[in-house]
């Protein structure tokens, strides 16, 4: 990997989120809590969602892991809290498309905001799971919340 690739991966935005994660910590109230791990590297996240009506009021989390997985959880919190579940799913889909795009996908900045910083990570297959850990946990927790409402 060249130095340029390294810089592309560790964007300042990612390092900032890593050092000052947004919304970190577990909070009440919540409707669902999940615990996800990345078995290959041991990264872990415990994540809670609080949904009122169809609005996501809070995502709180406690996580252990690398800068990519921690920054991703922080960006998730930024992007998704305050949105409706449907809006959040659209953002999730766009983030997933970016991460699975092998570095060939041009991300939609209007949708992903700081999340576009992860474009460089998508070139490193070993790190894609790091970026997706919190998003998968959120999707799982949200599905549990919705299932309980029914």
């Amino acid at each position: 990997m060249t130095a340029a690739n390294l810089e592309a991966m560790y964007q300042e935005i990612i390092l900032d989120h890593y050092k000052n994660p947004h919304g970190k910590g577990l909070r009440d109230p919540f409707e669902a809590e999940v615990h996800h791990v990345n078995p290959t590297c041991g990264d872990e996240i415990t994540l809670r969602v609080h949904v009122a009506g169809d609005k996501i009021e809070d995502i709180s989390y406690d996580a252990l892991g690398c800068s990519i997985s921690q920054a991703s959880a922080s960006v998730l919190n930024d992007l998704v809290v305050g949105k409706t579940v449907d809006e959040a799913m659209v953002i999730h889909e766009e983030f997933l498309r970016l991460m699975q795009g092998k570095g060939q996908v041009e991300p939609d900045e209007d949708v992903l905001e700081d999340g576009i910083a992860f474009a460089g990570v998508a070139k490193f297959p070993a790190r894609i799971k790091c970026a997706l850990l919190s998003w998968m946990a959120w999707k799982d927790a949200t599905a549990k919340t919705l299932a309980e409402e029914k």
Binding site: M1, T2, A3, L6, Y10, C41, C66, F124, R127, C130
Partner: protein, 417 residues
Amino acid sequence: MKGLLPDLDLVRKDFPILERTFDGGETPLVYLDSANTSQKPQIVIDTMVDHLERHNANIARAMHHLGAEATEAFEGARDIVARFLGAPERDEVIFTKNASEGLNLVANTVPLAAGEVVVTTEMEHHSNIVPWQIATQRTGATLKWFGLTDDGQLDLSNIDELITPATKIVALTWVSNMLGTVNPVAEIARKAHEVSALVVIDASQAAPVLPINLSAMPEEERPDFLVFTGHKVVGPTGIGVLWGRRAALEALPPFLGGGEMIATVTMEKSTYAPIPHKFEAGTPPIAEAVGLGAALEYLMHVGMENIHAHEQAITAYALERLASVPGVTVLGPADAAQRGGAISFELDGVHPHDVAQVLDSKGVAIRAGHHCAKPAHQRFGVQASNRMSSYLYTTPAEIDALVEGLEYVRSFFKLDQ
């Protein structure tokens, strides 16, 4: 530096991959991940290619020239393994897929019952924990384990509570893949044999660096089973070894049923081949076994005593250099004489994945994560660690490159600001 292989330059030339560079030739490979898998000398590559080009056939059944040659090569590899281990008998050497399969073979076939105890340790690779969890859950036996001291040694203070007449198996690693600790296997085996427990040694990290001579061990200190994997001893993947004392192997029922492991078969029942074939159902990895034979011949040619001395010299140098990097904490024994070639460490403020990623940009290959030893990490309150591991081709200059790389990691993540 005392202890280094005198022909280190020549040894390095035997490993073509060490010529690899990245970034269009700018960045040379610094391979410090040999505890994960070792690199392969040309003689291993050539031996496997030659086998496939000139001698390939199935073994022990084909009535033709090639069949005889392939059988001879495969059984010849068994002889080499026996010589490498100093095994009392060559038929005690069973070829498996890897060390995990060897451990699973024993865990699946050894008789266990409720009230009986299997003892392992907190520093095991998952492959020497999970099979015993499955076996004890299946049989109702109890799993217990040795804890660890703060400096990464086995805590033997409660050995008399762990090893009792109820203990049937004591399974432990000779050298820890995470902490590097060399365990007192002779002492533990002696204790286990006093209560007639079987001793299972995971030699995956020991076989690459320690001279092993089973025949020279006093019988009461000799393990009953020992496993290692080919790819960590400069051999190929897909081949491992289970050595077992003849009587202990004969007492076990077969593991996998199939071709090659039988004496005769009717639709009602079968009788089984004697060891080693009893435990080698199906067509084995033939070229891989032949490659493993070449690998062990290579190591014996360099000399296991010399390789061990080299490892100790490099490890001592690495421990000294790592101590000079601000924020680095080494896990496990501080004394190189008590260690194998794996050194796990933390860099304060940077997650291991990020350390490894940035080092990789400088061509330095290490491992980051839990190294398949989550309980040992948990014991020391760390979620993941960095691990550098050397081998007979590692130079002091490569340790310097690691240390320079770590300084770069510190500046990249602005740790001094």
